[in-house]
Amino acid sequence: MRQRIIAALGIAGLAATGLVACGDDSGSGSGSGGGEKITIGIKYDQPGIGLKEGTNYTGMDVDVAKYVAKELGYSEDNITFKESPSAQRETLLANGQVKMIFASYSITDARKEKVSFAGPYLTAGQDLLVKADNTDITGPDALNGKKLCSVTGSTSAQKVKDKFAKTVQLQEYDGYSKCVEALGAGAVDALTTDNTILAGYASQAANQGKFKVVGKTFSTERYGVGLKKGDTETCTKVNDALKKMVDSGEWQKAFDKNLGPSGLKLDAATNPPKTFDACA
């Protein structure tokens, strides 16, 4: 009996330390000293945008995040990246678990109610990914009677159905990689989301030459840097850093490195960004 009690106490103790460890896992406060640490939220599963491979992080979002963090005074080894899935982004910022979010985070009015945005640092648009030999899908209005894949909870597929092709069939999965799998197997005809994400998948080593991005965007997604609501101080600094990144040519370099190989063409009028939203 005594052994059991000791075991139970031990487990309770472990659980408690676990909780404490989680509690410590917060973004650093304001200020930009030499040894200060910063926690930044990114996506872990979007090749070309934000991808975790082992202990390495790659992608456009990651490179922009590193540049901005450097301008804010955080050296690269003081950055901790944290996964921020779409549904958790507002909460992670609100309770301070991350200080900034670079995660293909489109600026919308509903989101502005909860968080503040700096940027935009990139303007993407919704597009379609099809098999490389496909010729009949030229845009969203050619999808009637076809099968279209997207991710549960994303509004992109619904938009196609409502605005462009009433008789399209929607397949939703919990991740884009399953959509790519289904597209490869021929179970769906196209995959829709932002052209940046599609380009990332198309240029992955395993998919090279199998898919192509149609290249006819039908929405405007302005990727912003998510910040805690009302954090105008950081917002101004981030915008200055982004401006510097564009002016110095580092932005173009990051783009060429991460999304260039896929042949993705962004709207030249808005990329690289020339103006940034006012911080509020």
């Binding site: 509903a110 939703e172 999965y173 919990d174 197997a185």
Partner: protein, 229 residues
């Protein structure tokens, strides 16, 4: 609180919960059938059947449900070409995913049903089966007329637990694109992050409305139908 009216109008939350109910009921019936067969195999006197039943329960029960459901879609449908709906129909994807989800849910929960029924069988005193044998009933008739009717009445509480778990587990079907309650919740969270907790609240209440009466019904049934010994 306009988000509540949006739930009913724009997102058709009631239709989503209807899908949840259909998923649950169809899977419950199928799981009860498969589970009963598996339980009978486990208590049968034939060694091979016992082994098959035990293997089924241990393999299926210890596989994560998400894996089972994803396998139904990516494995059965995409790789092996098994489809459960008319390929030319213009609702093929929805029908096929729904049926694959029912298949996955019932196969998974059948293992829990089987164990619940087996626990019910264990509540039947050995003397009952011996008496049935003594009057000359063969194994299947012993089960059919003597053991199983008492076993089901003894297994009502655990079966109710399985049904409640099944109701909530049906949300996993959203990973292959069945638009049940949790899939609609994800869409609402994507569009209205400003009212995150209200959205959570609506769906939490929805599930409580589904599961609480089931729990109460099964509790009262277990009292009324218990075998008086």
């Amino acid at each position: 609180m306009d988000v509540i009216s949006e739930f009913f109008s724009e997102y058709d939350g009631l239709a989503a919960f209807r899908t949840t109910i259909y998923l649950t009921l169809l899977s419950a019936v199928l799981a009860l059938l498969i589970g009963t067969v598996v339980a009978v195999m486990r208590v049968s006197p034939v060694r091979v059947l016992q082994l098959i039943g035990t293997a089924y329960v241990n393999i299926v029960r210890n596989t994560p449900l998400t894996l089972v459901i994803v396998f139904c879609n990516l494995g059965l449908f995409l790789q092996l070409g098994v489809s459960l709906a008319n390929k030319d129909s213009n609702t093929f994807i929805n029908d096929n995913n729904f049926r694959l989800a029912v298949l996955g849910l019932s196969v998974y929960h059948a293992s829990f049903v089987a164990e619940a029924i087996r626990s019910g069988v264990n509540t039947v005193p050995l003397g009952q089966a011996e008496a049935a044998r003594a009057i000359g009933l063969p194994f299947l008739k012993t089960l059919r007329y003597v053991v199983l009717p008492q076993a089901f009445r003894g297994a009502i509480t655990p079966l109710g637990n399985v049904l409640i778990a099944l109701t909530k587990n049906s949300t996993v079907a959203s990973v292959i694109g069945v638009t049940e309650a949790s899939a609609v919740m994800k869409v609402m969270i994507e569009n209205r992050p400003d009212v995150l907790f209200v959205v959570f609240g609506i769906f939490a209440i929805g599930f409580v409305i589904l599961t609480l009466p089931v729990g109460m019904l099964f509790t009262s049934m277990s009292k009324r139908l218990a075998v008086k010994r």
